[in-house]
Symmetry: C2
Subunit: 332 residues, 2 copies
């Protein structure tokens, strides 16, 4: 299995999990202060990592929540954001310009900023009211499973949280195992489809951000492969007409509440193209994690699965994931 | 100028404008009842028509507003929606299944439903608390310019509304004129690019929904032309890497607040592809409408411009806009 460092993956998760009491203390502080909005803002792939937590809050509670791209926030604002709001942000480098500008904007509003950052002593940490550090690579999501989970628990919407959080101790090892379970299928997928001229990516609910960001931030950005992403319900409002037997379609199926929408796409697409690939969160075992929590974990399971496409495709195409034509090269 | 019926376009707008006092009375009733949320829900192209009004409310007022696809609403709900909310919906036929299910859902919540419908005595009208009818075709947006404009006026956020609404009397004629101004460029665009294997569509703010829906609901659905749509700020988080000299890029520039984001894309794209087309809302005269209102009107101006691509492309490709492989043909 190429490009795979199991101990590193487990160690990254452990690095976050050992901060559990610190993360829970931040959640407690947020609840004690009170808030009028839980607001998620970031850009590109980072925003897609955060979006499922906005989805989770809306679906399981009446807590006020919203999400918005930092670029849009900077120009149009969000009219719900006040000095009593809590803003969640993330940046690996801790100095992404758009994210920093947005952090300064919400700081000026007087909001309470909680950030997840990949390196110590970054500019983002400097303007944040609370910061949680993570080591390189995923699963940064673990920070938000603990943080948002504890807020939901404190507010009475997630009584199982203590047991859930205890299960999260095994998340790193489970996701390393998912990578092993997924590798062969992902290697074949990469080998079969890396030269396709057009790739339709579909997902819904808590996996729609993943369909959107994996196709754009990995296939387009790092492999220069053209894609289209569309959510499962919206697929039926236009993109369905493109399907013919040789059109490449990749569908992500969630174990979350919107699964029926993905299954509808599957039934339709398998009738109209021979190049349909389904990556189904349900297909992967999660050793050490109770089944009752699986419906929350599709985003992090799918991130692990799709990483095996990335790790294989760069070898197959002899095109390193790190090559860029333009991104962060000069001004634009 | 092919496929163009000027008097019909003007008549469609007049049909809506003559209902101005009825529309304003609905706005007044909404304000008198009070509300905790102004909520927009629909699907596909109809949702894209509504989204700029959610954008407008957020940008210019502190009124509580939200938008959500009907399919998502039906499964996950919206935790801000209560019996004190106002829900705006639209459907040309008035019987779209997803929209009707969503209407029933919000009706059960006890919300106040305002619908815009293309035919009389539809199922959607039957469950709505107030309905405004429009004739076939655009500009249905005119209903919402008057309705949302009057709500903003009543709440103190749009003092110029009476004059704005007076200007709207000329909207139909102005948009017919826009079509004449745009036709030759659109005809050439259709002739040049209808066989492109991949078409990147970009827009931002109040024109992002148009970039999204025109590429999906017209080019994909009715011409079977593969597209990718991405918002102007998000373009720089991945899709930019696809640009080479022969990659077809279509950029919509708004006169709204996010214009700087579109201009950034323009500066970048014109350096890296020879197949960049910019449709700029600023390029079209609007006879009978004051310049100070132009910044609100990009969605309806661009709808008129892009319709000239549609009307020309179906002749050039000998592929009627009405042909479908699958859409509304049998169950799926």
């Amino acid at each position: 299995m190429i490009n795979f460092n199991e101990s590193q993956i487990i160690e990254n998760a452990h690095y976050i999990y050992q901060q559990r009491s610190k993360i829970e203390a931040i959640a407690d502080e947020i609840c004690e202060r009170g808030f009028d909005l839980l607001f998620f803002t970031s850009s590109g792939g980072s925003m897609s990592m955060l979006s499922p937590f906005d989805f989770w809050l809306n679906y399981t509670s009446n807590l006020p929540t919203a999400a918005m791209l930092s670029a849009d926030l900077l120009i149009t604002g969000c009219n719900r954001l006040t000095e009593n709001s809590v803003v969640f942000m993330t940046s690996k480098s801790g100095d992404t310009k758009e994210t920093m500008d947005a952090a300064q904007y919400v700081k000026n509003k007087g909001a309470f900023i909680v950030s997840a950052v990949g390196v110590e002593n970054s500019p983002l940490e400097a303007v944040s009211d609370a910061t949680i550090l993570y080591a390189a690579g995923r699963p940064q999501e673990l920070i938000f499973y603990l943080l948002i989970g504890k807020i939901l628990y404190n507010k009475g919407f997630f009584p199982a949280y203590p047991d859930f959080a205890h299960n999260m101790k095994n998340l790193g090892a489970a996701l390393a195992d998912v990578r092993k379970q997924a590798d062969e299928k992902c290697r074949q997928y990469a080998a079969s489809y890396h030269q396709e001229p057009y790739n339709i990516w579909i997902g819904s609910g808590d996996l729609w951000p993943m369909a959107y960001s994996y196709s754009m931030c990995v296939l387009e950005e790092s492999q220069w492969i053209p894609t289209k992403s569309v959510s499962s319900p919206e697929f039926f409002h236009g993109t369905l007409e493109l399907l013919e037997k040789d059109v490449c379609v990749t569908l992500l199926l969630t174990e979350g509440p919107t699964r029926t929408m993905d299954e509808r796409v599957k039934r339709f697409a398998q009738k109209h193209t021979t190049k349909l690939t389904c990556f189904d969160a349900r297909d992967y075992q999660l050793p050490g994690i109770k089944d009752e929590y699986r419906s929350l974990l599709s985003p992090v399971v799918m991130a692990a699965v799709l990483q095996r496409i990335s790790k294989n495709i760069e070898v197959i195409t002899s095109h390193s994931l790190d090559i860029r034509r333009y991104y962060r090269k000069g001004e634009y």
